[in-house]
């Protein structure tokens, strides 16, 4: 009798948990230095961030949001970057093959905050919005770093012009 009840709890408990993680969000560890100084300001302490899946269910991102996305180069890897430009914007690139790029429809331009130490759109070009996995909302661990992640863009990285 108790065996049957355990089986039943597992059979329903696991899908409920997975669905929660899929639709609401989850906590993940940030690796690497590409988002310094917003995340991982000291390389030895890694930050844990809450990634909200709910916030990107309509692929609705704003300039300055920190998002996690599937790497276009390796589908098994997830990367965390800041959205710099949305579709229709013209960005001045940092070392991409064209100096100015107009972001195509359904794409966005992502960059790490740590210019020069990050693998981002300046290497692989604009990324499709469909690759966006979640939006980073706040740092949850360690407690000394407890804070919300702001939607902000450095002035020198603002897009040159918006959609016409």
């Amino acid at each position: 009798m108790w065996l049957k009840s355990i089986c039943r709890s597992v059979l329903f408990g696991v899908p409920i948990g997975v669905t929660f993680l899929d639709t609401v969000g989850y906590v993940a560890r940030v690796e690497g230095i590409s988002m310094q100084p917003a995340l991982n300001p000291e390389s030895r302490n890694t930050d844990y961030v809450f990634l909200s899946r709910w916030a990107v269910k309509d692929y609705d991102v704003k300039r300055g949001d920190i998002i996690s996305l599937v790497s276009p180069k390796d589908p098994n890897q997830k990367i965390i970057k800041r959205v710099v430009a949305l579709q229709g914007d013209v960005v001045s690139t940092l070392g991409y093959r064209n100096q100015y790029v107009k972001v195509p429809e359904g794409h966005c331009w992502v960059e790490g905050d740590h210019t020069g130490h990050t693998l981002d759109s300046n290497t692989f070009g604009p990324v499709s919005l469909g690759l966006i996995n979640a939006k980073a909302v706040c740092i949850v661990w360690p407690p000394s770093r407890w804070q919300n992640l702001e939607t902000k863009l450095p002035d020198n990285r603002k897009p040159i012009s918006g959609p016409y």
Binding site: P15, I16, D22, L69, P72, G106, G130
Partner: protein, 154 residues
């Protein structure tokens, strides 16, 4: 206390609905689901309003092969899905429309083309597609009933 009894029954019912909704979500998200395709791009293999059974295991394990028909999110509009055949894997040499020269499919991307090559917006127009956009692989057609066929090549 009829009020409490009704409240208890309602809670129990809502709980059942949530349980089964979660099981359904996981099945459709991780195992397989049904997709209705529209548009002429995959004729004559698939026609408009065919219903296909697709599985999500192969794309998740990166076991896709040339010739598989896949459902992917459209690169230019993530809310729309496209149904195409994989023509090239990373490292393959393919020929596009624009720029009209052969190119090599980059790492982490695939080259998708529709079977109806004269009437299909595919990789020849928008270039290689990241593998992260691929959602599922088509296994068989289940509707219309007289055209039930397996659509895998092995």
């Amino acid at each position: 206390m009829p009020f409490l009894r009704i409240l208890g029954k309602t809670c129990g019912f809502v709980g059942y609905v949530i349980q089964y909704a979660c099981v359904t979500h996981c099945t459709f998200e991780y195992l397989g689901d049904f997709v209705m395709c529209s548009g002429p791009s995959m004729e004559p293999t698939l026609e408009s309003n065919n219903i296909l059974f697709t599985e999500h295991v192969t794309p998740r394990m990166q076991r896709l092969r040339r010739g598989d028909i896949v459902i992917a999110k459209s690169p230019s509009n993530p809310k729309q899905n496209i149904c195409k055949r994989i023509v090239g894997l990373p490292g393959d040499k393919v020929r596009g429309h624009f720029p009209k020269r052969s190119q090599i499919v980059p790492r982490g991307h695939v080259w998708l083309e529709g079977d109806n090559s004269s009437n299909s917006a595919d990789s020849r127009v928008y270039g290689p597609v990241p593998q992260g956009l691929i959602r599922s692989r088509v296994v068989c057609r289940v509707w219309p009933l007289d055209k039930i066929t397996s659509l895998t090549e092995y």
